[in-house]
């Protein structure tokens, strides 16, 4: 018996003076102790605040052009400098947080809801439904994510909505697998049998028992998925398939600034940093969340 197990076992002894608390409260308590995760959460909250109050925070509009003032290095007036239209890069990054958050959350929402539903159906009904759904997921997984996204955006056309759909579709198989796995574990447990024996409808069983029990892994995957979605969208923008100008998407800013990389690296440095900080924060938080929600993985 290793020490970790030992201490856990000891704690688990019923006489131990422990309050009975919900696993979510426990997870939050454990998360609170995780400094890295808290830093991540702080950055994410900051980002959300930035997105909400972009108008108040940004000193300029995201498309306020001034060609004469183009490609200025950082200064007191333009702390991140200006781009090739003389637009304030700081303001564009501030407004860009809206785009990134939208892409991140909506794409993950699409992936999690569609994938979750498919996974739940596959796991709950098994047999044919399972077979068909999971084979389709295999097919989607056989195409590298970015290529799938590029093809989808090509067929739907560029623009924010379609980028979100494309990235979301790419994420479906991941969620489907997770939910299916949890459903398979939960499905045959006694409380589900019990619910079924008193004639509860399938839909109710899924909603009441199965979904709540597979929520933890979905939340972890979703947090890390938001990071992935933001990166994918930036990648799509980078090859010109993303958001339409003049929308201040960070990946598009990187792509547009690439031609000035040599003489005016500030045009690309700041959007690059913005992406990195946000992804870093989401990863920190996601890792912490995973440790908190899934003690088995805790190290």
């Amino acid at each position: 018996m290793s020490s970790a197990n030992l201490s856990k076992q000891a704690v688990a002894l019923p006489t131990a003076p422990m309050k009975k608390r919900s696993p979510w409260v426990a997870a939050w308590k454990s998360l609170r102790r995780n400094k890295a995760a808290m830093i991540g959460l702080f950055v994410i909250v900051l980002l959300i605040i930035t997105a909400i109050f972009a108008e108040q925070i940004a000193p300029f509009g995201y498309d306020d052009q001034n060609l004469v003032n183009r490609l200025q290095p950082p200064s007191a007036e333009h702390i991140f400098g200006t781009d090739n239209f003389g637009r304030d890069i700081f303001s564009r990054i501030v407004y860009g947080s809206r785009v990134s958050l939208q892409v991140g959350f909506i794409a993950v929402g699409i992936g999690a809801i569609a994938g979750g539903a498919l996974g739940a159906i596959a796991g709950f009904y098994g047999r044919h439904a399972d077979n068909i759904i999971m084979r389709i997921m295999d097919i989607l997984l056989a195409i590298p994510g970015i290529l799938l996204a590029i093809s989808i955006v090509a067929s739907l056309g560029p623009g924010l909505t379609n980028v979100m759909i494309a990235v979301g579709i790419g994420a479906i198989p991941g969620y489907a697998r997770i939910v299916r796995a949890s459903v398979l574990i939960v499905r045959d447990q006694e409380f589900v049998e019990a619910a079924r024996s008193v004639g509860t409808s399938d839909f109710r069983i899924v909603m009441k028992h199965i979904i709540p029990n597979s929520l933890a892994p979905i939340i972890v995957q979703a947090t890390l998925g938001v990071a992935g979605a933001i990166l994918s969208a930036a990648g799509l923008s980078f090859i010109g398939l993303g958001i339409q100008p003049p929308a201040p998407e960070w990946g598009a800013m990187l792509s547009e600034g690439r031609q000035f990389l040599r003489d005016n690296p500030h045009v690309t440095t700041f959007p690059g940093l913005a992406i990195m900080v946000v992804i870093f924060a989401l990863n920190l938080f996601g890792d912490g969340l995973r440790d908190a929600l899934d003690p088995r993985l805790k190290q």
Binding site: S2, S3, L6, A10, T15
Partner: protein
């Protein structure tokens, strides 16, 4: 104590320091094992038996485990003061260990032969061919065809795996064998076979043994002396006869009362009230006092020391201390 001392544990303290608090797994423990003797280490889950065994091998995982103080004197030398390289020469060689769960004690991606050979080659200067020969002999010794040395653990049953573990533990003729609940994970019928095998081999090889168990039946069957552990402490320590005839510590008495006995008239067992205390938050005074039928207010205040009640029979209870319970 009749036999020559092989192992002596003095005032050993091992704590686990975790986020949830400090677990005093072993707290001021004293123990002796003589040459050729079998000592039974008995206690409930979490009493610190396994930690004691790991402490002897100096295998406490650190962090979170920490040996705070004490000595483990083996053949006259303190193992805790030895360098890592020196202690490795003892592990698996002079002192070897049989672990509780044979299912997980074997490396699943190595053949059993490789795993037995590993210990042979580590400690004996032999050629590869000799090592293989020795490995096969060891397997035969525990009743497994030598030819199966190329098989992987998953190809064996639980009982067979434990035999492999035993073969591995005995491969270098250890002077001290620590068996940590070697039969707990096995079916009852297999348990007897394995136990018999161990007893036989121990006698053949004249090995000393520490038998860790919570089963007083096993103690009766194989041990010479017995140490009863409770909450990181030895509460009673004597030879088997003394213990079975005159158990002194209230905990030991409680343990005996909770075993069904065929020649008893009572139709109800008397389990010990309550459960093991939270190891991060042990009660003051005697750790057993909250559950002790005889406890007094003094028990909550004073930490008892071992008292030699009769020669060779040590009990850690205020009842036997000068001044008694009050």
């Amino acid at each position: 104590m009749s036999a020559e001392k092989l192992l002596e544990i003095k005032d050993l303290c091992i704590h686990y320091i975790t986020e949830d608090g400090t677990v005093k797994a072993v707290d001021g423990m004293n123990l002796e094992v003589g040459k050729g003797e079998t000592l039974g280490l008995v206690g409930e889950t979490g009493a610190g038996k396994t930690t004691t065994a790991l402490g002897i091998m100096n295998l406490i995982p650190a962090p979170p485990g920490k040996i705070l103080q004490g000595e483990v004197i083996f053949e006259g030398e303190d193992l805790l003061k030895k360098k890592a390289a020196d202690i490795r020469k003892i592990r698996g060689n002079k002192i070897s260990m049989i672990f509780q769960d044979p299912m997980t004690a074997l490396n699943p991606v190595m053949t059993v032969g490789e795993q037995i050979m590993e210990v042979v080659q580590l400690h004996k200067k032999v050629s590869k061919a000799e090592a293989i020969k020795h490995t096969q002999d060891m397997l035969e010794l525990v009743g497994i065809p030598g030819a199966r040395w190329v098989d992987y653990p998953h190809q064996f049953s639980g009982g067979m795996k434990q035999r492999v573990v035993i073969a591995m533990a005995l491969a270098c003729d250890p002077t001290l064998l620590i068996a940590d609940e070697p039969t707990t994970a096995l079916d009852v019928t297999i348990q007897a076979q394995v136990l018999d095998l161990m007893k036989r081999l121990k006698d053949e090889l004249n090995t000393s043994m520490i038998m860790i168990t919570h089963d007083l039946g096993i103690v009766a069957e194989v041990c010479d002396k017995v140490a009863i552990m409770y909450a990181g402490n030895v509460v009673e320590y004597t030879n088997k006869e003394n213990l079975y005839r005159t158990p002194r510590h209230p905990y030991t008495v409680g343990l005996f009362n909770s075993i069904p006995s065929p020649d008893s008239d009572e139709d109800r067992l008397k389990p010990i009230e309550g459960l093991m205390p939270d190891p991060t938050n042990l009660p003051s005074g005697c750790p057993f006092h909250p559950r002790c039928p005889n406890a007094t207010e003094k028990c909550a205040r004073v930490i008892p020391t071992p008292i030699e009640v009769t020669p060779g029979h040590f009990v850690k209870c205020l009842e036997y201390a000068p001044g008694g319970l009050h």
